[in-house]
Symmetry: C2
């Protein structure tokens, strides 16, 4: 279906909502951790729970949110539920954000170092 020139400029209202919601899903440390952990490969809830040191209910809840957002996929194997990355594209997102963060830190660093050499303490 069409190569779709992705972004219409004046972003239509409903799309804005969807985009914001998607960003918000990623705006939670625990969920970032889960995705980062799933980068190693599939994992069950209890495995993730142990990896992150969080409660089973909390992990399950966040996984539910990620799953509802289509970012992870679910599959039942006997008594275990295995989760996996549903849309690998999110890693590009995270990478970009990481890049942005890094740039800002460098700017800060430059400012701190190049401006007032006298005061040097974090």
């Amino acid at each position: 279906m069409s190569d779709s020139p992705p972004v219409p400029h004046p972003l239509p209202e409903p799309l804005i909502e969807l985009v914001a919601q998607r960003f918000r899903v990623l705006g939670e440390p625990m969920r970032i951790k889960l995705l980062d952990r799933l980068r190693e490969g599939e994992a069950t809830v209890s495995e993730l729970q142990r990896s992150l040191g969080a409660s089973q209910q909390n992990v399950s809840k966040h996984l539910g949110i990620l799953h509802a957002a289509g970012m992870v996929s679910r599959s039942k194997h006997g008594n275990h539920t295995r989760y996996a990355i549903g849309d690998p594209a999110i890693f590009d997102l995270c990478d970009q954000v990481c890049g942005g963060v890094r740039r800002q830190l460098q700017e800060l660093d430059t400012i701190l170092q190049g401006d007032q050499p006298a005061a040097a303490s974090a």
Copy 2:
């Protein structure tokens, strides 16, 4: 500029926080709108206010948040404050998210319309 091998895999805790915070800044419709509006070019608070139909205080507040996150730049011109995109890279982010949203909508569409699983199309 350092080429910086982008992402360490087990994301260090503090970085996770920063990344999540950055996503959360973008997880607000009003802020998306502001950025989308600034895509046309610089604008003052009152201009943005008129464009989006929001209160001056609210616009100013969100601009403050975007500015604190380094996503917009501020410059005073007489009695006006002009804001501009601070990091054009965020548009890549938005584009990617838009793409993801679109993909999901297509999947939903496919599911609703046909039992014919349209095999891989990008």
